[in-house]
């Protein structure tokens, strides 16, 4: 889990241009500066490209926090 959280953290740092951002499994979008609805689109697309997965319509905005996001990523990678 932590390895995936670290990868997502790298992606967030890159997309949001915040080199020192630190996240955990409990982090939500509201907790992170500049993670608004537009940034969210960029983040989800960057995650898709990085892991070579595709989120469904429901998943694009239906994820609760980083932990939930990582669970979904792991599930997609194992199928």
């Amino acid at each position: 889990m932590q390895d995936f959280v670290n990868q997502v953290q790298s992606i967030l740092r890159d997309v949001l241009n915040q080199d020192t951002l630190v996240i955990s499994a409990e982090t939500t979008a509201k907790d992170v500066k500049a993670w608004d609805s537009i940034a969210h689109i960029h983040i989800m697309l960057a995650i898709e490209e990085h892991f070579r997965i595709r989120f469904s319509t429901a998943e694009v905005t239906g994820l609760r926090n980083i932990g939930h996001l990582v669970t979904v990523i792991q599930r997609k990678l194992s199928t």
Partner: protein, 523 residues
Amino acid sequence: MASSLATMPWLLARSPEVSARARAARSHDEMCAALQHGLSGADLTILARRIGALSDSPWQPMTVGLAGSCTTQLLAPALVASAYRHRLNLNLREAAFGQIMQTVGDPGFLAGLDGLILHLDARHLPGLNAALGASHREAVQTVEAMLAHLEEFSGFVILNTVTAGPVPLFGNLDRAVESSGACEIAAFNAELARLCRGSSRLRLFDQAGVASLWGLADWHDARLYHTAKLPFSPEALPFAADRLAALLASQVGLARKCLVLDLDNTLWGGVIGDDGLDGIVLGQGHAAGEAHLAVQRLAKDLAARGIILAVCSKNDERVALSAFESHPEMLLKREDIACFVANWQNKADNLREIARRLNIGVDALAFLDDNPAERGLVRDLLPEVQVIEVGDDPALYPMHVALSGAFESVAFTEDDRSRTSSYAADVSRATERASAQSLSNYLRSLDMVLDMQPFGAVDVPRIAQLINKSNQFNLTTRRYSEDVVARIAQRPDLIHLSFRLNDRFGPSGLIAVIIGKVTGRSA
């Protein structure tokens, strides 16, 4: 998901280092260097903020409104950054979501705008949002209603062609069934093109063409439309924004005027100095030879639409010319080239010389050369030149030249059609001048005739082109759109004169314009 155009291969490649440098760019020069590369949407968003903060940009400023029926917030920063690549310092005024009709009726929003982009979407145009029983007439009427509100607006208006989603109702039959969404969208787009053709200030952003180039199934992203009302996939943003930015830049005369061509391994395969006239690869029956012919064909077509051609080659001049004069497969002839430079000097110096001989700015040049060392040299020594990035496969060169946006245009005039021959005539005049005994002898020998006329309707595009493209010789530095020029021609209180010059080398076309206001009469 990704189109082959995602990397924008006519630009330098993106890498993590390039991206980091782009995000750290703070000065004009750093930003221009970064924008020579194909950057991601996230890179462009960050650059756009920095552009907004620049206080001393040498690029031409432009303020444009943006209103759309879908979310425009991702397009806006990509457009500002892409415009900077095309030498435009763009300030965008964004309307709130889905507010096109309110925006066109809002004089407060429109005040001070140089132009307005109305970003249309088929899903939001009445009559087009149906797979069956669609009607393009309702959609056209909606657009005409938007334009009716803009009659007093003095700026240009950009409308875009629209796309159907990748959901054909019948399959192949959609194209044949009138009132299918596909047919009606095609009819709407044709009507839009007709509207723009007949107007001096409506400009067409061919988004349907852009989507087709990208790949329609990759262009659309149904999830993101449902989630956030995004009109198209954000992955296509850097490309789409670059196409729209090229249109904006050409609106104010910033497109390039001349394509400078290398010879060896560009216009033919092989090196003529080593392989000889018989050894170069050009022509039918040989794959690479066909590819190089296609490059020549594009160059010839560009010349036919008003782009000047020049040659800049590291070769003995006689040897280089021999291909043009004697090779049976050459499509380009010597007279297609307005300025031919073949020597052993460095190409940056030669490009400067070409600009000087053609009497155009170095920043009016675009450069095509298969050799990365030459491209790198020109980028370093002459950043004003647009260097088109290519790989080693000539089959792709025409597409790179075309998609680079170097020769984007908003009009196609009679003067454009005859431009190469008129530039070639100028080079002849320069040669004559060099051999004449005195300036006055030279001028007398030209047998010049200057014809003066009030503005005619058919001259309006050329007059506006002259006013907008001239810098040093626009004595008031005022810019007038075609619409304003047409109105000037109607006013009895204004003097308007256009001048056409002919001499023994040929016509120079419409070369000067005077506009004056009558303030009184002397006794």
